[in-house]
């Protein structure tokens, strides 16, 4: 249909191709995990050739790391008053999946967890947790053991996230959000208050 002798296809802008690969990769990696998804499957979903995936992102692992970034958007919550912060954080966590961005953050986090036997992925995961939770909090807690406590807060929040989205604990998934927030939030608060 095109008048040119189709030396190559209708020529999409490179940025658009890159974005299509990016989106396809996020969707497939989120749903099936790193190992179960091949470059060919990503290319097929993006409507491009498999070689382009490598050309644009270098390798499957780099594509994974670039695609599965997590923005927990917890920074805003962290700025709130220290008392009541426990419940506010848990409320934020359980509400995350109701926004599109939050849902993507959660699925990415799950995929990172499951691929964390690759050392680069483990590093990315660790850095994500540090930046999103531990570091903002350690500045709020002036005390001497602030760093350890902040990382324990991160551990506890991670526990809720993995129970919900990795293990899929049916009791917690079915539980009343208010009850969850109150109980787990107060336990978190104990960690914050020392």
């Amino acid at each position: 249909m095109t008048e040119r002798p189709r030396a190559s296809r209708p020529r999409r802008p490179a940025a658009q191709t890159r974005q299509a690969i990016h989106d396809a990769a996020h969707e497939l990696f989120s749903r099936e995990g790193f190992d179960a998804v091949g470059i060919r499957a990503i290319a097929a979903r993006a409507g491009v050739d498999a070689a382009l995936v490598v050309r644009h992102f270098g390798s499957k692992e780099r594509l994974f790391l670039e695609t599965m970034t997590v923005d927990l958007a917890a920074a805003r919550v962290m700025e709130g008053p220290l008392d009541g912060l426990g419940r506010a954080l848990v409320e934020h966590i359980v509400t995350l999946p109701s926004s599109r961005a939050g849902e993507m953050a959660v699925t990415s986090l799950t995929a990172l967890f499951q691929a964390s036997d690759r050392s680069e992925v483990e590093t990315a995961l660790r850095e994500t947790i540090r930046q999103a939770i531990a570091e903002p909090l350690v500045r709020r807690l002036g005390t001497e053991d602030a760093e350890v406590r902040a990382h324990l807060v991160a551990a506890q929040i991670g526990g809720l996230l993995t129970s919900l989205h990795v293990v899929h604990d049916p009791v917690l998934l079915a539980a009343d959000r208010g009850l969850l927030t109150a109980r787990y939030g107060d336990a978190l608060q104990a960690l914050i208050d020392t």
Copy 2:
């Protein structure tokens, strides 16, 4: 060297072969994860042929599930007095890797987490958590919301375990055990006391 025309090898008892495969599988799966380890590698380490692995265990996934079982040995701790249970549980968790059995439990748990995108593995993981933590505890807590609280306790303990052994949080790994036990244990206790 053998006098028989080596139709087949010196004939090891089947149970012994099975055990050798089992041990090799545990070691490799623990260290490298489900996807990174092939049947051939397991067979080589066990000193047997790859076909025997399939013959004895049916499939790689069945071998994985049969091999990576977790005994957290938390039941004994659960029987202790309800007050102080938080710290006792955390103490138990951070001390786990110092025993051989505990270390195997921890490495198995890590491998289960990382392979939990396979639905049978996810089910096994969920069941392990329920049996080891949630169920023993729900019997101790008489209250109405006992089940949710017990599963929140499991989530919080899972958070510590994953932070230490999946994410490898350097702050927590370097932290004083006593401090960890006190802080995280008291937060856990808040969940137990309601």
